[in-house]
């Protein structure tokens, strides 16, 4: 194998970018088929109600209306958790949030469909809603929102303990207790979800949808309609932004499928922006209590972490989210003894689910702000309290996670150097402040969402007689560049140019399964599968060339469409010529490759151990410079330095883009984004009212990539699309403290909160804004497991 890389590691254009800048990319909403009908969904006006009756006779009689349906027409439940899913195609008995779906219409045009919705008469019995964590953790006044909930409205409780908590706290010189709140927020992808379903005359159903997960949608659709998966084809066109909002199979995808079956015609839906806010599945609001014991040198002796998640009206991936609020605390700093208790509460709001960072930004905010408070009490610089207690490479954590490579030290040192943190921190004029925070994240979940022993990602390659290479993979390009990763890797391995490669992705009939674009898994998993497939094909081609030249196979190399022997200039053949010879020798040329995470990275054996393991963790550090107006408390973020350990940048340009996008999204969460409700009604369901950063609020971002060459990553690569979000919120909070000396223990950090804390401080009260308590609910006895902190983790390459 050639050691020098020709494509990997080079900044280059993204695959498909010229279509994107010239308006040629076809998103799901751009698809239009002959005889296509348009769908609209009638939505609940009550946060919680029983449906007594639905009368749709008038709607059915409206000219142009081709079909009307309600929940009884398609009663089987579904969800991203597959058979444990609680999503309904349309509400069956009850609606569980304002915006929940009640009935649907297919008509000749959108206007007629909208008109028809007004003619559907729903008789509701209004029920007592549950609107907060506090309301959901006391015995309910009314009927529980879901039958499966415990103690009224508690969806899931988790209780885990690793090591000796009492002994750990006994060793501590300081025990710090804090309570934090992180408000919910949403993905806000610029593309509104769109789906076209076509049930054709042969009884096969094709669905084009803006989804991050064609595979899980495939399974969910088959399940809902009791159809063999072989009769269903899911195609995910390029997605106009996901961020987790298009991970769940969503009910509108089922609705248009059913309406297409009812009418025998293609049916399309495009959600309005307001409906996207209802579809949601975004960041869970989380209330947290953190108790941490530290020695004088800042080393942590034990951490007790409690989280309460506001889940909204349905389950989504919420069981995994609860675990994720507890799983990764141990990956960043040494925590020898660790306890986690978490609970997800069902409430009458749009369902929360996975958003960039999935369940980890909230605890990361809590841990990093608390660390800042501890550092101050102990008189340690925020840099040192982190640098002196980092987890080490190839060790295990208390909760049995295996760390491979870590570049966090390099990350912290890099942002320190650029920002001059050590000199500037604590020494800037009043109103200016610097804040530091770190984070760590998974490169793909170690386990699939449903238990199976099959590959997580498959890649197939075929070569045509002209030397063109086509790569087939189920992976879904949501803008992160997964198509590009496939092309770069196959180009590198076969020695062809990226332009000679065609990419066919995200089509369940044409492409081998890739589990989907979630959990930052795609570069590592499809990348490894692509290497596997490409190297098989390369061997086949090189065998032919070696025979042709009479040289050993190992002496050959390939680049720029030529296969050659570096030691012998007479041995050289163009790739297309070699393809003709190889096909003559071997028959049709193709290969397959697959990938599943190595067993050594799959974590512990206790119940709940499935959330947190990954082939490789990434690490990030950020320093944020803020300006707080002393009069008005207006908060401006003036500059962000971010360093991210990406393992190896397959294309540094695209990696920087992922890092900058993560930083921006974290900044939005830190400063302004929130999904809040008044009597069940979303307060801000529009792009104007839901505040997100524009060009004006987004400062210059300085990005530094750190490469640690992880043995499990393709060419050493790890993720970049989620981890760099994590340090931003706590870094802003810590910077606000440095600027004006108040602690904002709640996200988002609105000027009103800073203002209140500043005025309180002036009056001699505590200069803090944040929650004061957490609910008292019974947790089950913890599952007690010995801590594996510091034990050696195997260094195992996945290939």
């Amino acid at each position: 194998m050639s050691k020098e890389l020709h494509v990997i590691g080079k900044a280059s254009r993204k695959v498909g970018v010229m279509q994107k800048v010239s308006g040629q990319t076809v998103y799901a909403g751009d698809i239009s088929l002959p005889r296509m009908l348009y769908c609209k969904i009638l939505r609940s006006i009550h946060p919680y109600a029983r449906i007594k009756s639905i009368d749709s006779r008038e709607a059915e009689a409206l000219p142009g209306v081709m079909a009307v349906m309600n929940g009884k027409d398609s009663p089987k439940k579904f969800g991203i958790m597959l058979r444990r899913g609680d999503d309904e195609v349309l509400a069956i008995d009850k609606t569980r949030f304002v915006g929940d779906s009640v009935a649907a219409v297919a008509a000749l045009d959108e206007e007629t469909a909208e008109e028809a919705l007004k003619l559907i008469h729903v008789d509701y019995e209004v029920l007592e809603p549950v609107m907060s964590i506090a309301e959901g953790t006391v015995p309910p006044n009314g009927e529980p929102i879901h039958d499966y909930a415990e103690l009224g409205n508690i969806h899931k409780r988790v209780s885990l303990e690793f090591g000796e908590m009492e002994a750990g706290f006994a060793k501590a010189d300081l025990i710090q207790e804090d309570i934090f709140y992180y408000e919910g927020n949403t993905h806000l992808a610029m593309e509104e979800h769109a789906t076209v379903a076509h049930y054709e005359a042969d009884g096969k159903l094709t669905i084009w949808s803006s989804t991050q997960n064609p595979h899980y949608l495939h399974k969910a659709v088959a399940n809902v309609f009791d159809m063999p998966p072989s009769r269903i084809r899911i195609i995910a066109p390029p997605t106009g932004g996901g961020f987790g909002g298009k991970v769940d199979p969503l009910n509108h995808e089922m609705v248009v499928s059913k309406l297409s079956m009812m009418t025998g015609r293609p049916v399309k839906i495009t959600l309005t922006r307001e409906e996207v806010f209802y579809a949601h599945r975004g960041r869970h609001p989380v209330l947290m209590k953190v108790k941490t014991g530290v020695k004088k040198d800042g080393s942590i002796t034990a951490m007790d972490f409690k989280s309460f998640l506001d889940g909204g009206g349905y389950g989504s991936l919420g069981v995994a989210t609860v675990y994720y609020t507890g799983a990764l605390q141990t990956v960043t700093y040494n925590i020898p003894n660790y306890k986690f208790q978490g609970a997800r509460i069902v409430t009458n709001k749009p369902p929360c689910g996975p958003k960039r960072g999935h369940g980890t930004p909230q605890p990361r905010f809590a841990v990093e702000v608390q660390l800042d408070k501890i550092a101050e009490k102990l008189g340690i610089n925020p840099l040192d309290i982190r640098l002196n207690h980092l987890t080490r490479p190839f060790t295990k954590t208390a909760n049995h996670l295996s760390i491979t490579t870590t570049g966090l030290r390099e990350c912290i040192e890099a942002v320190e150097k650029r920002s001059n943190f050590r000199e500037q921190y604590g020494n800037l004029p009043l109103g200016k402040g610097l804040g530091l925070a770190c984070g760590s994240y998974i490169t793909g979940a170690g386990f699939p969402i449903y238990w199976n022993e099959m590959p997580h990602s498959g890649v197939q390659i075929q070569i045509d007689r002209g030397g063109g290479v086509t790569v087939f993979c189920g992976s879904t390009d949501i803008g992160q560049g997964s198509d590009s990763v496939l092309a770069y890797i196959v180009a590198e391995e076969l020695g062809v140019t990226v332009d000679d490669i065609s990419i066919v992705t995200a089509d369940t009939s044409l492409t081998p399964v890739d589990l989907g674009s979630y959990s930052s898994r795609v570069t590592l998993m499809t990348g490894n599968a692509a290497i596997d497939a490409a190297r098989k094909l390369r061997t086949l081609l090189f065998e032919t060339a070696a025979k042709e030249f009479g040289v050993p196979l190992e002496s050959l190399d390939a680049r720029d469409n030529v296969v050659f022997c570096p030691e012998n200039e007479n041995c050289s053949i163009s790739f297309p010529d070699l393809v003709v010879k190889a096909e003559s020798e071997h028959g049709t040329l193709g290969s397959v490759g697959s990938y599943a995470p190595p067993p050594s990275t799959l974590g512990g054996k206790y119940k709940g151990a499935g959330v947190g393991p990954t082939p490789a963790y990434t690490y990030s550090a950020a320093v944020v410079l803020v300006d707080v107006d002393l009069e008005t408390a207006e908060l401006k973020v003036e500059k962000i330095w971010i360093a991210h350990d990406v393992g190896k940048a397959i294309n540094p340009l695209l990696v920087q883009g992922q890092v900058e996008g993560s930083v921006y999204m974290g900044l939005g969460e830190a400063m302004m984004e929130e999904q809040v409700f008044r009597r069940g009604l979303h307060k801000t369901p529009s792009l104007l009212d839901y505040k997100s950063p524009t060009f004006l609020e987004t400062p210059d971002i300085e990005t530094i990539l750190i490469e640690t060459n992880d043995p499990n990553g393709p060419y050493g690569a790890k993720e970049a699309g989620q981890g760099p979000l994590l340090p931003i919120m706590p870094a802003v909070a810590n910077a606000v403290y440095d600027a004006v000396g108040v602690r904002i223990d709640e996200i988002p950090i609105h000027p009103q909160k800073i203002f209140k804390a500043m005025r309180d401080k002036e009056k001699g009260k505590e200069g803090r804004y944040g929650p004061k308590g957490v609910p008292e609910i019974p947790f089950p006895d913890p599952i007690r497991v010995e801590s594996q902190w510091g034990q050696r983790a195997d260094q195992e390459s996945s290939r």
């Binding site: 900044a11 254009r13 993204k14 970018v17 010229m18 279509q19 994107k20 800048v21 010239s22 308006g23 040629q24 990319t25 076809v26 998103y27 909403g29 751009d30 206007e111 993905h187 806000l188 992808a189 610029m190 593309e191 509104e192 390029p238 997605t239 106009g240 932004g241 996901g242 961020f243 309005t272 922006r273 949501i478 803008g479 992160q480 560049g481 340009l653 695209l654 920087q656 883009g657 900058e660 996008g661 993560s662 930083v663 921006y664 999204m665 900044l667 529009s686 792009l687 104007l688 997100s692 524009t694 060009f695 004006l696 987004t698 210059d700 971002i701 990005t703």
Partner: protein, 156 residues
């Protein structure tokens, strides 16, 4: 109620008989098949559907086509000349300014209008001029860098 609309888009003349209340965004996408103009809110809040009308960036979701029948409309499909891309399109591709690409049509046209008016904008002016175009992927950083590349090259 329907009406006959006559529109001049990207230098081509179109006639379409369509509902009088349709927005320019809807007519471009649904009647003329110019789906390169995207939509993100239909309420004039995101900038995704921006087109140029007589060179000025306008939100096509807030424009009634009947009012712009005399004016020159430019959509993303008209930004390249044949197969020759506009320097902004090249720079956006070169510097990784497009991720999901959904905001790109509006972003590029707004950037073009800005440079046509002011070929030498400062970074602060770029931020100010484009503040009406939201992007959720890039953190705006690479977009600014791509525009600055075009500005720098136009100086050279």
């Amino acid at each position: 109620m329907k009406t006959l609309l006559k529109l001049k888009v990207n230098g081509e003349h179109y006639e379409t008989y369509t509902s009088i209340h349709k927005t320019l965004l809807e007519v471009l996408r649904e009647d003329l098949g110019l789906t390169g103009t995207r939509h993100g809110c239909e309420l004039g809040e995101c900038g995704v559907c921006s087109v140029l009308i007589d060179g000025q960036p306008k939100l096509s979701c807030l424009v009634l086509p009947i009012e712009v029948q005399e004016q020159a409309i430019t959509t993303i499909e008209g930004m390249a000349t044949g197969t020759r891309f506009h320097p902004l399109q090249e720079a956006f591709a070169d510097l990784g300014a497009a991720q999901c690409g959904f905001c790109m049509s509006g972003m590029l046209l707004s950037a073009k209008a800005m440079l046509d008016e002011n070929p030498q904008p400062t970074r602060a002016q770029i931020r100010e001029e484009l503040a009406g175009n939201l992007c959720r992927c890039t953190g705006y950083t690479k977009i600014i860098e791509a525009i600055e590349k075009v500005v720098a090259e136009s100086n050279a």
